[in-house]
């Protein structure tokens, strides 16, 4: 029982890492319909920004977190202006490909400039709580708490604020949004700024949690976050959270029962099964287009 609970907690904390990255993923997707393949790498850049903020600029942890978010927000805007904006009217897959290119660029440029060696990320003071034979650490709580808080804030922003309404309008019909007086460029920039800042927050928190940053650290979480986002219904913010948690708990479960070699296969298997039953993800509505 204790083991089960412990594994559940492990699964939830892994899932909240996925969720944290998936939130930004899904938001950017929801607004610009772009699978931002580079999202995981922005997360990596964020983690490095946090790392250098602490190591080189000697900032305290939370200041470093904010700094990393700021850096990535700016990076997100720049990246949108240079690599995505010119492709707004191009086939969607073109932007997807520049995202792949950006992902390659971030990874390899970091390898080139900083080296491929992993770097130890300074941890915040660790506190472990024990009860009923299970251990929970403050980092785990911090990540889960942040993910939930961000999910609620994001959901509120997108669904209930004027900016959020503008974002959704832009996602559905850019010309019509302009006719409403919405500044489409600013709205999309804003979306990328938020999405990238979220990725950075994830990068710093997760870097801190595992105590490591390295140039390829975004690849796997990026992929898993993508899966999580799709699982929950891509573009739907609470869906990313649900998807992340399901994925994390499923992976933990598979490993716990001794099939760790098949972990990723099972994770994808679950995804496919869920999609076959619910083709638009758990929270997605599968509305047939009205003709």
């Amino acid at each position: 029982m204790a083991e089960f609970l412990q594994q559940l907690i492990n699964g939830i904390s892994l899932g909240s890492v996925y969720a944290l990255v998936a939130l930004g993923y899904t938001m950017v997707y929801g607004i610009v319909r772009l699978i931002n393949f580079a999202h995981g790498d922005v997360y990596m850049v964020g983690a490095f920004a946090g790392y250098f903020a602490i190591k080189t600029f000697k900032l305290p942890f939370f200041a470093a977190l904010v700094a990393a978010m700021a850096v990535c927000a700016i990076l997100g805007v720049i990246m949108e202006r240079i690599a995505y904006k010119p492709l707004r009217n191009a086939p969607r897959v073109a932007a997807l490909m520049t995202a792949v290119g950006l992902s390659m660029f971030y990874q390899n440029f970091t390898i080139y400039r900083i080296g491929a060696q992993p770097k130890a990320f300074p941890k915040i003071a660790q506190v472990n709580w024990q009860f009923a034979g299970v251990t929970v650490s403050n980092s785990q709580v911090l990540i889960l708490g942040t993910a939930i808080a961000l999910m609620i804030i994001l959901h509120f922003v997108v669904q209930h604020t004027k900016m959020g309404k503008a974002m959704r309008a832009v996602s559905q019909d850019r010309d019509a949004a302009m006719l409403m007086g919405i500044n489409v460029d600013n709205t999309i920039s804003f979306t990328f700024a938020i999405g990238s800042a979220l990725a950075a927050a994830g990068g710093v928190l997760v870097g801190q949690y595992y105590g490591v940053v390295q140039p390829l650290m975004g690849a796997l979480p990026g992929l898993k976050a993508f899966v999580a986002a799709v699982l929950g219904g891509i573009g739907i913010i609470p869906g990313a959270m649900i998807g992340g948690l399901i994925l994390g708990v499923a992976e933990a479960g598979v490993s716990a029962v001794g099939f760790s070699t098949y972990r990723d296969a099972v994770a994808f298997g679950i995804l496919i099964l869920i999609l076959i039953v619910k083709p638009a993800g758990i929270l997605g509505k599968n509305v047939r287009e009205k003709v």
Binding site: Y29, I35, A83, P86, L87, A90, P91, V93, A94, L96, M97, T98, V100, G101, L102, S103, M104, F105, Q107, N108, F109, I111, Y112, L223, F226, V227, V230, I234, T261, Y262, D264, A265, F268, G269, L271, I272, L275, I276, P279, A280, G281, E289, V291
Partner: protein, 326 residues
């Protein structure tokens, strides 16, 4: 019609002549083993890219699972050539292994196609990516084919002329398919699935067909690759491989076969040319890729086909696919 046939004949003859000339140059040493290897890789990527184009570009189904099909083809063909002691001459064994690899990959494509066809767009992409990964994990755990250590000692049957011929056959198959009513059915699914259905097109059947054919050639491609590098390793068939092939398809122009061919050749060349830059190699590659995409968002060729007509009609450099068969 006449002019069309004539042009096609010229293209076909040109392709054959090019193959023969290159092979002769390889034999007499003008093109050394390195060039032969690169040309062979280009041919393999032509097989992979055009077959993915059948699924992604022509039928409009966003698949990211091509590496998985290649893995199936590669491994099963290698089982034929290494684990079975067939008392046949090498070319025959190789031919059989290619067929078996292709057919089992096609079966995989069929099985994957069936349940996932309900999915649309990005959901299909992630599901196919998932299937590709599942296939890879299965090979990673299959001791019979070496699991994580990979399968080595595969005979090096592949040479330039094999790969080239297979690439030509693949292209012919896909072009002929595209130019038929069956191909048009696939294209109509890409354009508007609901309208296609109301035109009496069994969209499921054609989607599965595209997946199956695409997977077959991906399997053949994987088999050729395996017998070139004489080693199969699950890591070869990771998602990166699928993405790389997708890059070629998009870069060439979704739906354009000549585009896929050109992009496969171009990207293989670029990757080779940049090799010596070591750490900077992929940085430059990435920047180039972004640059090309920004410069030509619809791909090098858009949906059009590069055509010999430009020789006869100097006004148009590119001829729209809509003209074919007319």
């Amino acid at each position: 019609m006449r002019a069309m046939d004539k042009n096609r004949l010229i293209v076909a003859a040109g392709a054959v002549a090019l193959g023969i000339i290159l092979q002769l140059l390889i034999w007499n040493g003008t093109l050394n083993a390195y060039y032969a290897q690169v040309l062979t890789m280009m041919s393999i990527f032509v097989i992979m890219a055009t077959s993915l184009n059948l699924i992604n570009g022509i039928t409009g189904q966003f698949s990211l699972g091509h590496a998985g099909f290649a893995a199936v083809g590669g491994y099963f063909s290698a089982i034929i050539t290494t684990r079975l002691q067939l008392p046949l001459p090498a070319p025959m064994i190789f031919t059989i292994s290619l067929l078996v690899g292709g057919l089992i990959a096609a079966l995989a494509g069929f099985l994957i196609g069936l349940p996932t066809l309900r999915l649309k767009g990005d959901y299909l992409a992630i599901a196919t990516l998932g299937f590709g990964e599942i296939i890879r994990v299965l090979f990673l755990n299959w001791k019979y084919v070496g699991a994580a250590a990979g399968m080595w000692g595969i005979p090096g049957y592949t040479n330039f002329i094999w790969a080239y011929m297979l690439a030509v056959l693949t292209v012919i198959f896909i072009v002929h398919f595209m130019n038929s009513s069956h191909g048009r059915a696939c294209i109509s699914i890409r354009e508007d699935e609901i309208a296609a259905e109301t035109m009496g097109i069994n969209t499921t059947k054609y989607k599965v067909m595209a997946f199956t054919f695409g997977a077959f050639f991906a399997g053949v491609g994987g088999a050729v690759l395996g017998h070139l590098i004489r080693l199969l390793h699950p890591a070869t068939f990771s998602m990166t491989f699928s993405v790389e092939i997708l890059l070629m398809v998009v870069l060439g122009g979704l739906g354009s076969i000549t585009g896929s061919i050109s992009a496969a050749i171009l990207l293989t060349f670029v990757s080779e040319a940049l090799r010596k830059f070591n750490e900077l190699r992929m940085v430059i590659y990435a920047l180039m890729l972004i640059g090309i995409m920004l410069f030509r968002p619809q791909g090098l060729f858009g949906r059009k086909e590069f055509s010999l007509d430009l020789l006869t009609d100097s006004r148009f450099m590119f001829k729209s696919s809509k003209n074919r068969g007319a």
